[in-house]
Symmetry: C2
Subunit: 451 residues, 2 copies
């Protein structure tokens, strides 16, 4: 009976475990994780902190019981310390402080990521938090209650920063969002970022862009943040949302090779350089289908895919990861912002000749009640006409998320912008137009490109 | 200067005209149409009759002014009578009853379809209507007002029948829907049809299935419908929604060849058998990408595509229609039902070995408020594992329409069910899951297929 050890109990790890159970029922599967929260939806933390999800337990994709009922052995609150590849053994610290060793035939690393802590003086000041794991969210929640927090400062206007601005505003806090770049959400074009900032401001959030935060310090009852140019503000709590870096401390003990991004280097079978060791999820470099190079792009969707593939291959399968396109969506109040593929700058850097054209349409026929405007930005290569990327912004009920997925499938297949009109998409006046707005947007791109 | 005549002012005709204007600005374009309503969204008629669209004028995709401003010459209320291909001349009856002739270099036929009138005795009884064109809807509307209509009987539970049941119910009428087949909406699987029937019943609509309507007759103030087995009911108005048949009377005068379905035979360039005559939209047979054969499947989306292609080719382009997949969606009260590709029976007939598996999921993470259950039926070939079709039913705000479009793109590219998991789709807890439910549904299909 094959003996598989998985380190990490989040998306990649549990996906691998479940896939193994499906394909090879007689495998012995152990999932070792550092906390008590296997298979939690950490993407849901903002909605717990907003109060929209009243019980944190509901964030579990599956309960511990669900998992163990699948015959998956859970070693929670075990901190894996070293891997000895020659002996195929992992050493960990058990909850009682004792060292335990676990042997494996195949090892799957799903150690995930940790919050990036930027070089800001006073990051350790009480009341300053990062947000990545369940434990982080409990600390933030408790601090808000214990200190009767009325105002929060969020450093970083990326996905988590925006979701937390929305969340804490819903919770009734006065929120200030500080962003280093000239616009928030710099994973989309600046015109979209500005609309997101407007949405925040319309909900009473103060948005400060182009600010480098330098220092956080206690100032009476408050935390004071100072930065340049010439910036100072105060609040009761500071949340630093500056992205994630791969968690690879453990893997170094095994000589597992890291890539340029300092995440684990894997092939498309999710194999590391060390025999019998696979890795998946936020700890690895991810193959980008358009850039044809590995990137560091930690996303839950990718973790699930890679975990499933690692699991399959660990029990003799032969599945290859087909690459990411960086497809993402975020909801900020009533607005959803989605993207897939490359932004113009990325495309240029990769040797493409990108042209981006924006189109404003409606999510459905405007004569039918409740139509929402949606804005679609299409990026294509002017020479080859290849579709390179798309971004959509609009009301979250305007099918902004699944519309970008149509672009994602077209990019996946290397289609031209023109060919996009060949798709047979669904239509009824309450839900679309005879040409779906995504197709109008690509037709508009072609018109501009032909000029 | 090239002189292009288009007969038909609906989706196909206007799409052709606009595409010609775009590509060849110096072309002389005439659109001849039988009524006064060019470029109206006839798919919107139910929403005018429900009262959701208070002004019928709003159903226009574009106004007459919009069209003429593009330099497109409109000959409305002209009934085209004959085509003389040798002379390249069309004869029509003008509004004043005079015969006029119009010559052409290229002719594009977009004559559309007419309502299928089933063999029911008494179809001509006052108060019995079909619904296809603007004029039909005015008549229905006026009749409802003039006769203080309180109850309606709809014969036919397809798309228009269902939308009209919803519409007339919203308008406050007592509605009975009669369907020939054992379940309504037989373009989707019977399990879906039954859920649609439940939705109708929950809104107070009487649904009678498995009924062959034989006779409609006046009975006092009422219209009485009788049928078998052993069926009789009364109402103030009868709407017969029994589908559409191609309008080809005119084209016969030119010797334009019809296909098996009695619709115009065209190649993928939308050329008929007669030189310089193109045809597009509801009057033609449409190439089915999966069946690899022409079918009669009149849809607004297809009309737009084919019209655009006919227009492009009429001015020297070389664009080919890539085929339909029969992608459709309909909203019935709060429910949306979408489909693409083949149903099991169609697939079998085409030589596939279809297996269909249903999966019930949520439109987004269930911990986030407002999650709706959605049911997804995946059909694939058990031998080749090719994805053949998908159907989705759920709340209309559950992205049921654009989710089926993801399936449509995968079928377009001939993907296997398994490969569907390779798509990089967007995720955020308020809008999806790390595996979108469409991917969970395909994974579930693979699991069942492997058993």
């Amino acid at each position: 009976m094959s003996n598989i050890l998985i380190i990490g109990g989040s998306d990649a790890g549990i996906s691998a475990a479940l896939r193994i159970r499906e394909l090879a029922p007689d495998t012995h599967i152990t999932v070792m994780l550092a906390d008590e929260f296997p298979n939690f939806s950490i993407c849901g933390l903002p909605f717990y902190l907003s109060g929209e999800v009243p019980e944190w337990q509901n964030l579990a994709h599956r309960t511990k019981d669900d998992i163990t009922r699948e015959g998956i052995h859970l070693m929670s609150s075990h901190w894996a310390k070293t891997i000895a590849p020659a002996q195929q053994v992992v050493t960990a610290i058990a909850p009682d402080g004792q060292e335990v060793t676990v042997s494996y035939d195949k090892l799957i690393l799903g150690t995930g990521a940790i919050s990036r802590r930027p070089h800001i003086e006073g990051m350790d000041t009480p009341g300053v938090f990062c947000l990545r794991w369940m434990g982080d969210s409990f600390k933030v929640n408790q601090y808000i209650i214990d200190h009767n927090v009325q105002s929060a400062i969020i450093v970083g206007g990326g996905y988590i920063g925006l979701e937390m601005a929305d969340a804490l505003c819903l919770r009734g806090l006065q929120v200030t969002l500080i962003e280093y770049f000239p616009t928030v959400l710099n994973t989309v074009h600046s015109s979209f970022g500005e609309r997101v900032a407007d949405e925040l401001k319309n909900h009473g959030i103060r948005v400060e862009t182009g600010i480098t935060v330098e220092k956080i310090q206690q100032s009476g009852d408050k935390l004071q943040i100072t930065g340049s140019p010439n910036f100072s503000t105060e609040g009761d709590l500071v949340l630093v949302a500056a992205g994630a870096i791969p968690s690879t401390e453990l893997t170094q003990t095994a000589g597992v090779k890291l890539g340029k991004s300092r995440a684990i280097e894997v092939n498309n079978r999710m194999e590391t350089n060390i025999p019998n060791i696979y890795a998946a999820g936020d700890c690895v470099e991810t193959w980008h289908k358009l850039l044809q190079t590995p990137v560091y792009l930690p996303l839950g969707t990718t973790s699930h895919k890679q975990g499933r593939i690692a699991g399959e291959n660990a029990v003799g399968g032969n599945r290859e990861f087909q690459g990411t396109l960086g497809t993402q969506v975020v909801k900020v109040f009533d607005l959803a912002i989605s993207r897939t593929g490359l932004r113009e700058a990325e495309a240029k850097q990769a040797g493409y000749e990108p042209l981006s054209v924006e189109f404003e349409g409606w999510d459905h026929k405007v004569y039918y009640p409740g139509a929402h405007p949606i804005r679609i930005r299409v990026t294509g290569d002017v020479k080859t006409k290849q579709l390179l990327g798309a971004q959509i912004i609009g009301h979250y009920q305007g099918e902004v998320a699944k519309r970008v997925d149509i672009f994602a499938t077209a990019i996946f297949h290397g289609m031209t912008v023109e060919q996009f009109s060949d798709f047979d998409l669904s239509y009824t006046p309450p839900l679309s137009s005879p040409w779906d707005p995504v197709q109008m947007a690509t037709q508009n791109w072609s018109k501009v490109a032909a000029q």
